[in-house]
């Protein structure tokens, strides 16, 4: 009996020692020890085409239903990560107009729900042929990278151009007032006025460059992409935004020249 009591006490003491060591160790687990529910990989590694290369290679070597489904899941999942990133860009943007942000959100939400449904369809496929057809639809029905990602980037750029135009126009008004003041004080403002005129002309050119671009870009769909009509429109919008950016750079330089001429 006494021996049993001694053994029992020894067991308790062992447990107590273990607990007293474990509690501080657990309590000291700080934020760095927090388990993340997001992949720790950089974004590029999650979303670029190379992510699914291994699955595609396996499918080419042995085209089974499971392997076709695996490549479908991979292609959909990287698109969902991309959509998540694009939604954050749209919702957190301080340059997008409300109308453009709403239009982009609708495109992204439609793409997200569609891809999630397609993922379930692929999981339910029972033949290689049906799974292969569903995997093809990931590309043809959504065009997440060729179209949707470009729509977000181009509309953001277009709205940034508009914001820069507005600010430069306001700056031109302020510079015109400064020139008038200097002229009133008897200063020769010929050079300053010349730079201001060049600034205003560059702003007007930038405005003309991007007129209607955002609407044209937002009107494109996977169907128009597949028909070959969307890409030229996106490329044209890109070219006009780049040209407008150059015009705005000129306008900014002219604004700085006005200030220098007035000193």
């Amino acid at each position: 009996m006494n021996r049993n009591l001694t053994r029992l006490a020894g067991t308790f003491a062992g447990i107590a020692l273990a607990v007293s060591v474990a509690i501080p160790a657990l309590a000291s687990t700080g934020p760095s020890g927090r388990v993340s529910d997001r992949p720790a990989q950089p974004l590029g590694a999650e979303t670029d085409a190379a992510r699914c290369r291994t699955d595609w290679q396996a499918t080419r070597e042995d085209r089974t239903l499971a392997k076709v489904q695996a490549v479908g899941f991979c292609e959909i999942d990287r698109r969902l990560v991309t959509i998540d990133r694009l939604q954050a860009l749209v919702h957190g943007s301080d340059v997008l107009t409300d109308a453009h942000a709403s239009a982009l959100s609708r495109i992204l939400d439609h793409s997200e729900t569609g891809l999630q449904a397609l993922r379930r369809e692929i999981a339910a496929d029972t033949t290689v042929a049906s799974a292969t057809e569903d995997v093809r639809r990931i590309f043809t029905d959504y065009r997440i990278y060729a179209l949707v990602t470009r729509q977000v980037a181009l509309v953001r750029a277009d709205d940034r151009v508009d914001a820069a135009i507005n600010r430069l126009t306001h700056a031109a008004d302020q510079l015109a007032a400064a020139i008038a003041r200097a002229a009133g004080n008897g200063k020769d403002v010929t050079v300053a006025q010349g730079h201001l005129d060049a600034m205003i002309a560059a702003i007007a050119e930038a405005r003309a460059e991007v007129a209607g671009d955002a609407s044209a870009v937002l009107a494109q769909t996977p169907a128009t992409w597949n028909a070959g009509t969307a890409k030229p429109i996106l490329d044209a919008a890109r070219a006009s935004i780049a040209a407008a950016r150059s015009d705005l750079r000129i306008a900014l330089t002219e604004a700085q020249a006005v200030l220098a001429a007035l000193r």
């Binding site: 501080p24 085409a49 991309t82 990278y145 470009r150 980037a153 750029a157 302020q174 900014l252």
Partner: protein, 138 residues
């Protein structure tokens, strides 16, 4: 005899167990509380810091660096009053500078425009790299 001895051993071990448990839990609590949002680190609450006493501006002579301190003597009921003189009232006006004849023309904010142009470059970069990620069904 052996039963009594066993009980003594058990009592000693139980006491040690309690001490070890208390020590273990106590140190764990301290570590957990150190980073707990319910026990923020001590901070200086600036909102409750005593304000500098203001100097009466009417009917009093303003002396530089005059501050009202709590009574430090042991005399009961002693309060510190502003020193009054027989001099005529002095009113302290905020110091103002002479305004220029006309307001200056505001300088345009060109820095924010520069940032917008840089943002356009970033957007065009995103656009250029997007299509390469599309891939194709193989």
């Amino acid at each position: 005899m052996s039963t009594v001895k066993g009980h003594r051993i058990l009592t000693v071990i139980t006491a040690a167990l309690v001490v070890v448990l208390i020590a273990g839990c106590g140190s764990g609590t301290e570590l957990a509380d150190a980073g707990s949002p319910t026990s923020p680190p001590p901070t200086v609450d600036l909102t409750t810091a005593p304000e500098e006493p203001t100097v009466p501006v009417v009917g009093a002579t303003v002396q530089p660096a005059t501050t009202v301190q709590p009574a430090t003597t042991n005399e009961p009921g002693m309060t510190v009053q502003p020193v009054k003189t027989n001099e005529p009232s002095v009113t302290v006006e905020p110091v103002t500078t002479d305004k220029p004849p006309t307001a200056p023309v505001p300088t345009p904010d060109l820095t924010s425009i520069e940032a917008l142009l840089s943002g356009i470059d970033g957007d065009l970069g995103d656009d250029a790299g997007a299509a390469a990620s599309e891939g194709s069904p193989q």
